[in-house]
Symmetry: C2
Subunit: 113 residues, 2 copies
């Protein structure tokens, strides 16, 4: 039996929580990767940080409603909640992603992933 992880409903996604999730550059790198490359295993983000930090950062993004995480066997698969975010805060995600792409070290990290 797989353990389901909790996610906020789309209408309960909170602006403070989303901005708090996105203010960290590691978390923005994760979001940029799933925005550009589609859903990814959690282990794909090990380029960005250590395993312990990664678990923490992905949980912060999930709890804020920015990403969805599902468990498949030993893996956690991360996808972007683009429609839910766009429905709640139109234009916010794209503005943050555009800002993240301007950041050369962060953009390089995403290209290399």
């Amino acid at each position: 039996m797989s353990k389901a992880l909790s996610h906020p409903e789309a209408e309960a996604i909170d602006l403070s929580a989303v901005l708090d999730a996105l203010r960290d550059p590691i978390r923005r790198a994760i979001v940029l990767m799933v925005a550009e490359q589609g859903e990814k295993r959690c282990s794909s983000f090990l380029c960005c940080t250590t395993k312990t930090n990664l678990t923490y950062h992905v949980a912060r993004l999930r709890e804020a409603g920015v990403v969805r995480v599902r468990i498949e066997g030993p893996s956690r698969i991360v996808s972007l909640r683009r429609d839910d975010l766009e429905g709640r805060f139109p234009g916010l995600l794209d503005a943050v992603l555009a800002g993240a792409r301007q950041d050369p070290p962060l953009a390089r990290l995403v290209e290399d992933a």
Copy 2:
């Protein structure tokens, strides 16, 4: 002689710092007020919080490059750095302001100010 407060140059405005500044609802209320009503004395925001907290919140917004603060006699006048923010992160400020307007207690606070 008036003491000038430090502000980041437009091109040095950092995305992490801006999101960190805007993640707090009191700071979003301040930003929404100056966005809708133009520049205001710092004391106008006393509806939102205590004087000590207000000094802290306005400093956080200033240091992140979200607002400009100038000293006029005994007053501090706060204005929004809309063009600087729009130049650095197009669409971000408007998306956050739209989200702030959806928040009934925050929007009421701004209307009553």
